[in-house]
């Protein structure tokens, strides 16, 4: 409103003073002042109120005529995105950044096609895969009046921001936090991925089905690793196996001594497999040291979704190790989903990279956030939370059907089995080779001969 008035005032002024040089300078100054004021006012309106029902589709249809009289009718909604662009998930964080770009472009195109004159803008911040920075990011989003945040990535980070977002009514949509301990009803945390209670079961089934009976679970000593290991142990015991848990400290420069301790333990316990619950940097590090250990090269290896798509895993040393130990991993994936295949194709065409783990969940998180804001009708955390649940019921994307369970996690989560096989430009590549269906793992192909 303020901007409109300012523009109306300045227009006649332009006509009157355009004759002399001095006047021209004054005019330039006035214009700059008007622009600055207009921008500030517009920004203030968009961020501070961010409210007001988006009107009917006809507004979008007459964009050209509307903009002549009042430029800022297009409503801008900012959505916070906190990504692990550095730290232990940086390998996949860099790919996620591209997914965010793609998803916002698609979302904006889509809402405009439906006739909404709105624009969603991503405010992307790096959280360094650290809990403190994730909280700082969410707080800075809150200061900007942002009510919907995509991310953070890890369960430890989600746990840290939880009380803040719950009390400030900010909707968090994490595409990749999977710790079962965070499956809590009626909070402001949503996860477009199933909790690891499901994945742990798949991984336990996979290991048992492959003939393994005694495993050492080598896991991150954090929210994700501990919860995953606990659930794995429970399911593996139910199947009749034995699991010994060894936590390792995260954030170390290198894991050589941890891997040596793991080797000692595997040998002394006579275990026939290692189950690794890791992120990408630590996972790659551990695997490259394990590849040099005769003990660890002599047992089977099973891996969680964390290290999937880390480029370091495609080195010759790890590739050879993978085929020697017949390494298999699990990851949340709706295998053979045409929408996922389409996203994959577009990622390769546009950025030259294949989507990493959770890219599809991230993509859907952005889409859901946008549509939930529109459905809510008001830029308010509680309204958006209610709308999000409804939108997700009828949305189907690259990650499949996104409906949430009562705890705010993806209700229908499928899991795929992945392997590292020769091929691709780097010599080795990740391949989805199987899926989990009604209590058994079905292989679509045999990755290691």
């Amino acid at each position: 409103m303020l901007t409109e008035k300012l523009i109306k005032v300045s227009m006649p002024a332009i006509g009157r003073v355009s004759n002399t040089m001095v006047a021209r300078n004054t005019m330039a100054l006035a214009l700059v002042a008007v622009l600055v004021l207009g921008l500030a006012a517009g920004y203030g309106l968009a961020v501070a109120t961010g409210s007001g029902r988006v009107t009917t589709a006809t507004v979008g249809g007459s964009v050209a005529t509307v903009t002549v009289t009042s430029a800022p009718t297009k409503k801008v909604f900012s959505i916070g995105v906190t990504l692990p662009l550095s730290g232990e998930l940086s390998s996949i964080g860099k790919i996620w950044e591209k997914v965010v770009q793609l998803a916002f472009e698609d979302l904006n195109r889509e809402v405009q096609a439906y006739g909404f004159n709105v624009e969603f803008r991503a405010v992307v911040l790096d959280d360094g895969t650290s809990e403190e920075k994730a909280l700082q990011n969410v707080q800075s989003f809150a200061q900007q009046g942002i009510k919907v945040v995509i991310g953070p990535a890890t369960s430890a980070q989600v746990k840290v921001v939880k009380s803040y977002v719950d009390s400030n009514k900010i909707v968090i949509i994490s595409p990749s936090s999977t710790a079962p301990t965070l499956a809590i009803p009626n909070d402001f945390i949503f996860r477009t991925v199933g909790s690891d209670a499901g994945q742990a079961k798949v991984l336990a089934t996979l290991a048992f089905q492959e003939g393994v009976r005694k495993v050492v679970v080598f896991h991150r000593n954090d929210e994700y690793g501990k919860a995953f290991a606990d659930f794995f142990e429970r399911y593996f015991k139910e199947l009749g196996g034995t699991a010994i848990k060894i936590p390792y400290q995260t954030g170390l420069p290198d894991y050589a001594s941890e891997v040596a301790a793991l080797a000692s333990r595997v040998q002394s316990e006579g275990a026939d497999a290692v189950v690794l619950i890791a992120f990408d940097t630590d996972g790659a590090n551990i695997l490259s040291h394990a590849a040099e250990s005769p003990v660890l090269s002599g047992v089977r290896w099973f891996i969680s979704e964390g290290p999937h798509s880390a480029e370091e895993l495609l080195s010759q040393a790890i590739g050879q190790f993978a085929s020697k130990v017949r390494l298999l991993g699990t990851r949340p994936l709706f295998i053979a989903n045409p929408l996922y295949e389409d996203l994959k194709k577009r990622m390769v065409q546009r950025f030259g990279v294949e989507p990493s783990v959770f890219c599809e969940n991230l993509y859907d998180a952005v889409k859901l956030a946008g549509w939930a804001i529109l459905r809510a009708g008001t830029y308010d955390g509680e309204a958006i939370r209610a709308a999000l649940v409804e939108v997700a019921k009828t949305y189907y994307g690259p990650s499949g059907w996104t409906m949430f369970d009562p705890q705010g996690d993806k209700a229908q989560q499928d899991y795929g089995i992945w392997a590292i096989v020769p091929g691709g430009p780097k010599g080795y590549q990740f391949k989805d080779v199987g899926l989990y269906e009604r209590g058994t793992v079905i292989f679509l192909e045999q990755p290691y001969q």
Partner: protein, 314 residues
């Protein structure tokens, strides 16, 4: 089975790294009296010199990478001194302010590296945020010890021998020791103090960078935070040397490497202590050492020469 042989190998390997990273820290501190947290960047920048040479230029020759890294990180250390530490000291800033400035440098360098990795990623579409182990052409491989062990031994030997020769057998080395003992007296007796200090920074920075190159042949995944996650251990080792004695720093390198590898493996095997207790063990050792042997060099404590007479260090 008591200990896997890999535990022993790791102990030796880490001892080499701690030696190469900590001795320059002690040497630079005792000569310049700057507690330099940007030391972490020197490790990281050394490693990333090798990574960029490999990932961008396709070169995997360690001898070349170490020379380039020596020049790069040596120059960075001199620049830090000329542009930040010296001006602050001239203004009469206390050591704590200079230390805080070094922390500022630490953060600045870290983010500069992130920018560099992003640019490199843009042009090569390789991931530099987390870089896998590099196999070098010019280091023997195949049968026997790993490349990292061979390279670690070489770099540690070269460092110790050349520093010994430099400090004990050359005029400039004696000047470096004189500045460390008593900067004022050294200056009065005609030693070009600024030159000596800058040379010390160059040598110290260079050695650390060369060590960083060797790190890329060892670590399974190097990240732009590799130096940061190691800096406290490196300081611990230097504290064992009282931030004064190079010999005791060397002993500290072996001690901390043994505690972190043999110690945790024994505790894990016999007492079931989780391996995640490793950092706890390191810093408990640090505290024990600090209490038993207070670091006389820290905080501008006793001059070097008194120490030498009393304890026969160095």
């Amino acid at each position: 089975m008591v200990l896997e042989y890999q535990v022993m190998i790791n102990t030796v390997q880490y001892a080499f790294f701690y030696l190469v990273f900590s001795i320059p820290l002690t040497l630079s501190y005792r000569t310049t009296k700057v507690i330099n947290f940007a030391h972490a960047n020197l490790i990281t920048y050394g490693a990333y010199t090798a990574i960029f040479l490999h990932g961008v230029a396709g070169l995997n020759i360690m001898s070349l990478a170490t020379v380039v890294a020596f020049l790069v990180t040596g120059s960075i250390a001199v620049l830090n001194n000329v542009l930040v530490f010296t001006p602050l000291q001239r203004k009469g800033s206390p050591p704590s302010i200079v230390m805080i400035a070094s922390m500022g440098l630490w953060i600045v360098y870290k983010y500069l590296l992130y920018i560099a990795t992003d640019i490199a990623n843009y042009y090569t579409s390789r991931n530099f945020m987390s870089y896998g182990r590099i196999t070098y052409l010019d280091i023997p491989r195949g049968v026997g010890p790993s490349q990292a062990l061979v390279a670690g031994l070489a770099i540690a030997l070269i460092t110790v021998v050349s520093l010994y020769v430099l400090l004990e057998r050359t005029k400039i080395g004696r000047a470096m020791r004189a500045v460390a003992d008593n900067p004022l007296l050294a200056e009065i007796s005609g030693i070009p103090r600024t030159l000596v200090v800058n040379l010390t920074w160059f040598v110290c920075g260079g050695i650390v960078g060369a060590g960083g190159v060797v790190w890329t042949s060892f670590s399974g995944a190097t990240t732009p935070e590799v130096g940061d996650s190691m800096i406290l251990q490196v300081f611990t080792v230097s504290f064992v040397g009282g931030l004064i004695s190079l010999l005791r720093t060397g002993v500290g390198a072996v001690l901390i490497a043994a505690v972190e590898n043999v110690g945790i493996a024994l505790l894990n095997t016999y007492f079931g202590v989780p391996v995640s207790f490793k950092p706890f063990l390191t810093f408990t050792t640090l505290l024990a050492i600090l209490i038993a042997f207070p670091p006389l060099g820290a905080g501008g404590g006793l001059p070097y020469r008194f120490l030498r007479r009393g304890r026969g260090s160095d």
